[in-house]
Amino acid sequence: MTTSVDTIRDTPFAIGGRTFHSRLMVGTGKYRGMDTMVRAIEASGAEIVTVAVRRVDLDRTKQEGVLYHLDASRCFLLANTAGCYTAEEAVRYARLAREAGFNDFVKLEVIGDQETLLPDVQGLLEATRTLVADGFKVLAYTNEDLVTALRLEDAGCAAVMPLASPIGSGLGLLNPYGVRTIKRRLTVPVVVDAGVGTASDACLTMEQGVDGILMNTALAAARDPVAMAHAMRLAVESGRAAFLAGRMPKQEVAVPSSPLEGMLD
């Protein structure tokens, strides 16, 4: 006897004309050790790996460059503009990142508030327009506001990245409706960035139909980052598969699963 299981047909995950094999993207910050980071990235199955641009430590007392540990031929390096508070600053960081010579993709962050690290959407739009005109593929970190997402798409973003919750908070997906609405209305890929805390958050996020997730702290701050990376890989795949499968409708009354007929007297 043979059993045939139809594999789930998914569309390729493409951003800015490039196709990626994993819908999970991971950051490289805040790991307790570089060896753990490397093993976590491996376990996550992620292809896109984010990095930040910073001054070289001339005294060599602090962290050395991440490229001493990452095999850049085995991942797609996505530089961010984390820590930038103005469009001008973010554009400067993006140009420096591009000069490193890997690609012309940038994860654009223009932060508007120090406590929440919420984006400055005006600065974000301004920087997007400048960078798109300069040939960049811009992946814009934004909030879950539909109108901003639409404007970012109009401005030429390669992908729009609404947050699940504030960066590094681990609060999970706070506004599924907002993220779902952005996904429904946009044509460019929607990748949820920031706030995912554990596997169920990742699964629930993917179930909204978004194209992917970017996470960092959820792995780096887990008790066992490598094991959590494995869990996240499964969660992203599972959530995506559930979205494609199409969930049953919710209803507020019970419907028996077993037949009502054939009950004993």
């Binding site: 984010t50 990095v51 930040a52 070289v56 001339l58």
Partner: protein, 70 residues
């Protein structure tokens, strides 16, 4: 000979040999030009040109690279 000029590298004052190029500066700091991006007075200098740009007194030079980030 051995005359130096004062420049600012990554926000810190630093003395470099008069006539030094950006490539000389990287060499003096034992930095591999393949993993460092150089900004000279706010303008990016591409790797092939690092040996052509001479540092002048008061120049602001930024040497950046990729570090862990999200």
């Amino acid at each position: 000979m051995n005359e130096t000029i004062d420049v600012v590298v990554n926000g810190q004052p630093r003395a470099v040999a008069r006539g030094a190029t950006l490539l000389d500066l990287l060499a003096s700091l034992a930095l591999d030009p393949r993993v460092v991006v150089v900004e000279h007075n706010r303008a990016i200098v591409r790797r092939p040109h690092l040996g052509e740009v001479t540092v002048a007194p008061g120049d602001a030079i930024e040497l950046v690279h990729f570090v862990g980030g999200g």
